[in-house]
Symmetry: C2
DNA sequence: TCTGTTTATCGTAATATTGCAATAAACAAA
DNA sequence: TTTGTTTATTGCAATATTACGATAAACAGA
């Protein structure tokens, strides 16, 4: 076991879970926030910004990349990492719809 | 190791990560969606709704509860689980602000 | 009290995640 | 070519997650 039974759930549920899981670590939240607040985006800056060893940061970057939240282009010696806006544009409205759905509920039982 | 270094990140980053991590499994996404679409909320329904064994569902419910996304009240024989709207109200705007910040970026390097 | 229903917990196995030192790979510049 | 810089990969240890069978706990109703 220890293996998520992906095939038992809808594609939508799995995609949202992959997106959320990628943001499920404070280091990865910090990376996303850093990429959002800077206009340029070079990996060295990210390593210096985070309180973790370089291989650990590299690993978190790879996870964000595999989940599709960021993309990295080779730029001479360094690598240019930046946000992939698509998943954010896709899932942000879903969190809003959660709030809206909850707001319109009639029965209060808890 | 295998232990997240929570103390190295801001409270905000940790809170967002806890919220996202709770939604980082399709079964837990399914539970939240089910609780949103039903007005009543009894645990038995959730177990029947999910394609997983009862102890597994119970475990996912506990994780959602510990992360603060749902709350459960004892209701006679059964337990009434429902959404805790607060974290959703708190974090949905953050995902929106991510999209807005990204939209106003000047430099395109990737 | 006994029986069935509902949910939680325990125990266990398989796998994933987190973190880092050591090292490699890729490249720029001297 | 050699040296330094930047990022990725490997290997490993510690811990967490996922899943479920077995069992317990809590309660309703007969």
């Amino acid at each position: 076991m220890g293996l998520t039974k992906t095939d038992l759930f809808t594609q939508h549920q799995n995609e949202l879970a992959v997106f959320a899981k990628a943001l499920g670590h404070p280091a990865r939240v910090a990376i996303i926030e850093f990429l959002l607040k800077t206009d340029k985006c070079i990996c060295g800056d990210i390593v210096n910004e985070l309180p973790l060893a370089q291989p650990t940061v590299s690993q978190h970057l790879r996870e964000l990349k595999e989940a599709g939240l960021i993309q990295g282009n080779i730029e001479g010696n360094a690598i240019c990492y930046c946000i992939n806006p698509r998943p954010f544009e896709k899932f942000a409205p879903i969190f809003n719809s959660f709030v809206l759905q909850q707001g319109t509920k009639k029965v209060e039982c808890c």
